[in-house]
Symmetry: C2
Subunit: 357 residues, 2 copies
């Protein structure tokens, strides 16, 4: 697979965002958000989505110059208007605010309306973790999950994330969509020409399908847990929980009213997001040691297959980041480089340069 130097990927994303109309600070911030996803191996949330963000700025759906407004505030809470800013702009504003409140009052709880897509949920939780806090972030999204027993999609992948610091620079990072699999994973099965496991998706007839192309075209994902007999309603309930914290608190659109994200978007999505920070120092001493003890215990569990060690939450992404950083390059599929070439011409920036073809 072609490789692109990390700095070159960053340069390309920053220049694209600048060309799209973002101020330098916000172009840099948003490129960092997307680059993080590519570095930790969640390619669906990285450069893969760059063009969608640029189109949103070009069409006016996203206003990269918007300044966020605190509409209501208490010691521990804030209600914010994201004013349709870039995902990273709104995310930084809100998580910085949550961190500030957590450091002063133990907890910072921020709900924000009029948001655009904010990339990997875990990126925001990690922002608080780097400050020695527990970070959590949630967002609603467009309807793609079919609730248990339903023929129609109505809920979002609505991710849940939490990051917490452990001693020795270690951490636990939870970041998951409340569907069994994200649509990006279905796309990967299409590319690989492999069937889906049962419990990922429904076909147009509302029956389970293992055909990745059919699942991709239908866009009816099952909640985490799959079917009712394997507790799929729990994934649906988790998505609903995120809805309460996002559109419920912020007054944004509910998921069932959010338009699908597309290259021809004309309407601001008005997503709802929720950013939470909690200071472990307000509770029992030794938090970092206890988290480290759990991480060690889980990593040392005897694996079923000795070649597949038990991972702690976040280990896969840490391992991917280590490999990427050691290699100094990100591997993108050729199809993505082809798209990037056309895209660079369209917006008039220097094309993305691969080191190996």
């Amino acid at each position: 697979m072609p490789e692109v130097r990390v700095e070159e990927a960053q340069r390309f994303m920053e220049e694209s965002l600048l060309a799209g109309g973002a101020p330098l600070s916000e172009a840099k911030a948003h490129a960092d958000l997307l680059l993080h996803a590519d570095i930790v191996g969640h390619y669906s949330h990285g450069m893969n989505r760059l063009e969608l963000y640029i189109n949103d700025m070009k069409s006016g759906v996203c206003n990269p110059h918007a300044e966020q407004i605190i509409l209501k505030e208490t010691a521990a809470t804030a209600w914010v208007d994201g004013c349709d800013g870039l995902g990273a702009t709104v995310g930084n504003f809100c998580m910085d605010l949550a961190i500030k409140k957590a450091k002063e009052f133990g907890v910072g709880w921020v709900a924000v309306k009029r948001c655009n897509h904010n990339g990997m949920a875990g990126y925001w939780a990690l922002k608080a973790e780097k400050e020695g806090l527990i970070g959590m972030s949630f967002t609603n999204s467009a309807p793609i999950m079919v609730p248990t027993r339903s023929k129609q999609r109505a809920c979002g992948t609505n991710p849940i994330s939490l990051a917490a610091p452990a001693t020795g620079g270690d951490s636990i990072v939870v970041d998951l969509a409340t569907t069994t699999a994200a649509m990006g994973k279905v796309e990967m099965q299409v590319r690989k020409g492999e069937p889906l496991p049962e419990g990922w998706a429904l076909g147009p007839d509302c029956k389970p399908t293992t055909d990745p192309q059919l699942a991709f075209e239908t866009g009816h994902l099952l909640p985490l847990g799959g079917f009712e007999k394997t507790s799929g309603y729990k994934g649906y309930c988790l998505s609903a929980m995120v809805e309460v914290l996002c559109s419920g608190l912020s007054g944004s659109r509910a998921t069932h009213n959010v338009p699908q994200w597309s290259h021809t978007q004309t309407e601001a999505p008005n997503l709802g997001q929720c950013y939470v920070a909690v200071d472990p120092d307000c509770f029992a001493p030794g938090f970092g040691e206890r988290i480290a003890d759990c991480l060690q215990h889980w990593r040392n569990l005897e694996p079923v297959d000795p070649t597949l060690p038990v991972l702690a939450p976040g280990d896969k992404e840490k391992k991917n980041a280590k490999i990427t950083n050691a290699r100094g390059t990100i591997m993108y599929p050729q199809s993505q480089l082809d798209s990037a070439k056309i895209f660079a011409e369209r917006i008039g920036i220097r094309p993305l340069e691969a080191v190996k073809a």
Copy 2:
């Protein structure tokens, strides 16, 4: 199935708890917690567990006279020592504290160590919901979940619950174990003589089993999502997230050090719990209307099977409660009534009276 009047079940549980050594107020509070589970149809967490609680008091593992201590406090947070009190005693103390803080400062976040089992997680979330707040509760537990790729169990069912008020007296209630199914459901399959769905449990050879008796004896439950290919690691991650909020913040035992709950328990479990309340009035106006709109949207989705309508989170329990309250009786299996008879003789209280045999 034999039926017992609701008031009689309540009388029996209160008298049992009094005979076990609980003061009247705490006997009433704990009976209310267990009765709630039976009324909403979660029989595993109701009278089914009464004897375990009484044994814990008799053996000294639980001290029903314990008064809880606030060890550290900020405007929005508190770290509490549960002092091995009864589940309901500690739950009421902590959720009352979280509610008070939420009403004053927008959020109340309470982590507590040295806890006993606190019944249905949703009961505590609902306590805040009745005050017009979002309630959340989490607890760790004994190891019963086998993390993805592991041969050994290490994590707990560690439930997640959230309740939020909607207009018209309606609500959304999420209350779920982070395993695919709770052990109580495996027991039910044993009683019914029916196989387990794939993805619930492993046998002693660490391979999937559909044999309910084998699964019950082995006690190796799979995380929500089941196997790795259907994202079982997400259920494991959710259990880990609850661990951070419970043992991480409170300094209680981590799940992997918690003894299994049994009739011969000699050691206090020192569970960790977390109670959170958030005041929606600190955020966008119209919270109750937005939650009501989501509930209505989900309930009105076209079902695959017209005889099985789409439910909103918490609807099943509301429906069960309505049926129970209209009938005025709770249905218990004969085996449970037989146990209750022997138990009543042992502790010297009036036996449980059934209205229909």
